[in-house]
């Protein structure tokens, strides 16, 4: 009986398919099942005339969910529907067409889809235009703990272009013995292209000292052409030369972090150089400074922070090498807050668990490496080897030689 029923059901289904195909041919119906968006990587860069200079990078994952990165810093995880809305937001689809397309693909009425899209777009716009707004409280976003979601690619690729350091730098500061070769410009371009292909929205050039590579501007421009956000971490010595800095800015540099050597005036010159171009070009480049709190500078730390704030730096990275200075670090953090300097803590400066943020996060307090290493970001050595993060000598593969699947397991 059951077999017979099954046979009947199969026959009915086949008949229904024939009817459905007929209906589709005469335009009364569509039978091709709607599927989530194809995996892909899409960018949107606000035009220069826009009052808010922002970039959006949308990565559609294989399951239809998505990752939207705002200004390479705010990471939003989207469900399938939100991903579709973000896709249309990034592609500037007119709202009425969005409702039409969503209605065709989902069991939802056009008015509801239109209302949901308007709500989504308004929230995103508010997030972009009002950086101080708490999105959980005021925009009804959910919160997810950083680096806990499964990703198809990291948010950022830190590319150590070279381990060379300026003359006079302490010997052994970089692992020259382990990494003996440097990739060519063409090879780095391959890596940048591969990063774009797998959906990494953000490239940070670091070192050693990346400004020692003559092709830095060329690589910045190459990444910019893909719509990627680019940054440089440097000691700033070379950036005091305003002409050199101008070439980097013209190449599309989006942000820079100066690893401060407070006793060297060149460091401060580089900040002045940025300030100069910011004023001349009316450029909104984001500058952060990294300051390591030591026994030597602990007493002047507030004065140093004041000087950093006055130089136009927009964010501060703080760390301490001596655990005994933990309380000083907290005071420095408070002083930075008073000077309206937000903290950044995940860029590949010499890492220590003793940064002000990890000190407050119980879960990460005992970690020896940053929580996002190997997940939110990867680190590429000058020879193309991929590590989870700077200073974590666990080779995951080679960016040039290995398939992405092998590197990103």
């Amino acid at each position: 009986m059951r077999l017979r029923l099954r046979g009947l059901r199969l026959r009915l289904r086949r008949r229904r398919q024939i009817v459905a195909t007929f209906l589709e041919r005469i335009g009364l119906s569509r039978t091709t099942p709607a599927k989530p968006l194809e995996p892909g990587f899409y960018s949107y860069v606000a035009p220069p005339s826009h009052p808010f200079n922002y970039r959006l990078h949308l990565r559609v994952e294989g399951d239809g969910n998505g990752l939207l990165v705002v200004n390479a810093s705010t990471v939003l995880h989207l469900n399938q529907t939100a991903t579709e809305y973000a896709y249309h937001f990034v592609h500037l689809t007119p709202p009425e067409q969005v409702a039409e397309k969503i209605n065709r693909r989902y069991r939802v009425s056009k008015p509801r889809a239109a209302a949901d899209y308007a709500d989504f777009a308004n929230k995103l716009q508010a997030l972009i235009e009002t950086p101080d707004l708490d999105p959980v409280t005021y925009l009804d976003f959910d919160r997810t703990r950083p680096y806990t979601e499964k990703l198809s690619a990291p948010y950022r690729l830190d590319c150590a272009l070279t381990y060379n350091l300026p003359k006079g730098s302490p010997r052994g500061a970089t692992p020259h013995k382990r990494v003996t070769t440097e990739l060519s410009t063409a090879q780095w371009k391959q890596i940048i292209e591969k990063a774009h292909t797998v959906g990494i929205p953000h490239i940070v050039f670091t070192g050693g000292e990346p400004t020692l590579r003559p092709d830095l501007a060329e690589l910045l421009m190459y990444a910019e052409d893909f719509g990627l956000v680019t940054g440089v971490i440097t000691d700033g010595n070379k950036l005091g030369d305003t002409r050199y800095l101008k070439t980097l800015l013209d190449a599309g540099l989006d942000h820079a972090m100066i690893v401060l050597q407070p006793t060297k005036e060149q460091t401060w010159d580089s900040l002045a150089s940025f300030a100069y171009w910011r004023e001349v070009l009316n450029d909104d480049i984001f500058i952060a400074a990294h300051l390591t709190l030591t026994r030597q500078n602990a007493k002047q730390i507030n004065a140093l922070i004041d000087r950093i704030a006055e130089s136009g730096v927009k964010a501060l990275s703080l760390s301490v090498t001596d655990p005994a200075l933990e309380s000083k670090l907290q005071a420095a953090r408070d002083h930075a807050a008073l000077r309206h300097l937000p903290l950044v803590w995940d860029l590949p400066v010499p890492y220590t668990a003793l940064n002000p943020v990890s000190l407050e996060l119980k879960a990460t307090r005992k970690r020896k490496q940053p929580e996002g290493a190997g997940n939110a970001w990867l680190y590429v050595e000058p020879d193309g080897d991929v590590l989870p993060g700077q200073g974590i000598n666990k080779k995951l593969g080679n960016m040039l030689k290995d398939e992405w699947k092998k590197i990103w397991k």
Partner: protein, 555 residues
């Protein structure tokens, strides 16, 4: 969509085509007289004799389509004349009626304006008798005289229908069927013909030949062979006219088909589409921001600004950096140099009090609050405002629970002194303070003298400040009535507002216009596809009565 309209259009055209067939005729005539004699024979057959007088008003009348009860007739059994002249030809099957011959007049066609008498005799029609539905021993004979399309006929007609029952039927045996037609009598005239057969005659001198008139009679089956009596077929049994029913059924099926197509279309389209879940956005960010001081937490919890400044006042007094010099209006004596453990906002607070000019002091206090709000906002970047606010509410609540659960006044006073700023985070701290301490002695904290020691002029209890223990020695703490203590603590906020901030709403407005400036006039967003509102106010909680931090939690 165009494809769909085209398809539906074709379907409607198919429906409309049959309606066009009969419009090419231009016949017009009157029938002044029509007589039909129906001879129900003893062999079970029917003989029909027609006499029809035509008065022609239209095209030459050259043919008559004669409707018959069924197809059991033969052309060989049909004779017909027009004005006594034989007709030209007879076709078995008329193309214009369902059942019946077409009789062509040929050269004897009736010209326009002329009259002609048509006679026809059809014999040996079988299958015309049925069992009577009311009496199975009777045979029923039912007949509808020929009728024409109303568009061809004009004028009235004298119509006579005569039933000649089978020979031998006795006068008491037959029954007529009621003829419920206007103009015809219900009861036929009974008589007998030249052969002695019983006749039923229905006549209407003002009838018409375009209406269907049904007549009938029944007689005992025994007068005809049993085999000649047909059983009613499906249509006859249920009195359904197949001519009407089949097109009706076709239309129903077609309508059903259309409905089914639409239904299948809707269902398959629905199945094809994916399930819709409301768009959901989750932002990566840390949860609770620990390490905020009580005034900072108060900013986050949007506490009134005079209360926050009073909290700072208490903290500077506790740290020995200040002492109340005069209660009303409030003046404090600032210790110089400042103790080392002061926070930035405490230093700013003391500096503000050094301003002798009241408006200048108020402005300095506003600057302090602006810096404090912005500082908290910076500290909150990357952390959840909601979770952090909940965390500090819980701390405040736990502080109160400890104070309220304390077993002795001494322990209670100690806990209250330790947690004073945290208890002040409670929006109902004033009521709670009054409730907890009224009616019991309070051990004044070591710094109480610096806060309330100079309030003699205000009528409060004067307490000498105890010295703080620096070693392990015991400290003798003075006590004071709980009600006075509570009033002094609670009154501190009102006193601060009265003396320093002035109108709290105005003071707060001066702060929030810096921390939460009104949104700029709308600009073109630059997104060609958008048309969205530009994000609205810079802060959703920019209310005048709260110190809004607007911290960027979650990022």
């Amino acid at each position: 969509m165009k494809k769909r309209i085209f398809f539906l259009g074709i379907l409607f055209l198919i429906l409309l085509v049959p309606l066009n067939v009969a419009f090419a005729q231009n016949y017009l005539f009157a029938v002044p007289r029509e007589q039909v004699d129906l001879y129900w024979e003893t062999n079970g057959t029917l003989t029909i004799e027609y006499l029809i007088v035509f008065q022609n008003y239209g095209s030459p009348l050259d043919v008559v389509d004669l409707g018959l009860p069924n197809a059991n007739y033969s052309v060989a059994n049909i004779t017909a004349t027009i004005d006594g002249q034989p007709v030209d030809s007879i076709d078995y099957d008329s193309p214009y009626i369902d059942i019946g011959p077409a009789i062509y007049f040929g050269s004897n066609a009736i010209p326009p304006g002329q009259t002609g008498t048509f006679r026809a005799r059809i014999t040996n029609i079988t299958g015309v008798l049925y069992t009577d539905s009311e009496d199975e021993n009777y045979a029923s004979a039912v007949f509808i005289p020929n009728y024409f399309g109303s568009e061809f006929v004009t004028g009235s007609s004298d119509i006579t229908v005569v039933y000649h029952l089978p020979a031998g039927v006795q006068p008491a045996e037959p029954k007529w069927h009621i003829a419920d037609h206007p103009g015809f009598p219900d009861t036929p005239t009974t008589g007998s013909d030249s052969q002695g057969r019983i006749t039923y005659t229905w006549r209407n001198s003002n009838g018409n030949v375009y209406s269907e008139y049904l007549f009938g009679a029944s007689f005992p089956k025994s007068y005809v062979p049993a085999a000649s009596i047909a059983e009613p077929n499906f249509w006859q049994r249920y009195s359904i006219d197949p001519e009407f029913f089949i097109p009706f059924l076709f239309c129903c099926c077609f309508a059903l088909f259309i409905v089914a197509i639409i239904w299948i279309g809707v269902v398959s389209d629905r199945r094809r589409r994916m399930q819709y879940l409301p768009p959901k956005i989750a932002i990566e960010g840390h949860g609770v921001k620990r390490g905020l001081t009580a005034p900072e937490a108060a900013i986050l919890l949007e506490q009134p600004m005079d209360k926050i400044l009073t909290m700072i006042l208490f903290s500077t007094i506790k740290k020995g950096a200040a002492q109340v010099a005069k209660a009303d209006p409030l003046e404090i004596a600032v210790k110089s140099p400042f103790p080392k453990d002061l926070r930035e906002y405490e230093t700013q607070f003391l500096a503000a009090f050094k301003e002798g000019d009241k408006p200048a002091r108020r402005r300095a206090m506003q600057t302090l609050m602006v810096d404090l709000v912005k500082g908290v906002a910076n500290k909150m970047r990357g952390f959840s405002k909601r979770e952090t606010a909940d965390y500090y509410r819980k701390i405040s609540d736990e502080a109160w629970q400890q104070v309220e659960a304390a077993g002795t006044p001494k322990v209670q006073s100690k806990l209250y002194e330790e947690n004073l700023e945290w208890t002040m985070l409670d929006p109902n701290y004033d009521d709670r303070t009054t409730t907890v301490f009224t009616g019991r002695p309070v051990y004044a904290p070591y710094w109480w003298g610096r806060y309330a020691g100079t309030t003699a002029g205000t009528g409060r209890t004067v307490i000498s400040a105890p010295s703080r223990s620096t070693g392990g020695g015991r400290v003798s703490l003075p006590t004071l009535p709980g009600a006075d203590f509570a009033a002094s603590v609670v009154g501190g906020v009102q006193n601060f507002a009265k003396s320093v901030t002035g109108n709290v709403a105005d003071f707060t407005g001066g702060v929030t216009k810096v921390t939460n400036p009104p949104p700029p006039p709308p600009k073109s967003s630059g997104r060609s596809g958008g048309g969205f509102s530009g994000g609205g106010s810079s802060c959703a909680c920019a209310c005048a009565g709260c110190a809004c931090a607007c911290a960027g939690g979650g990022r």
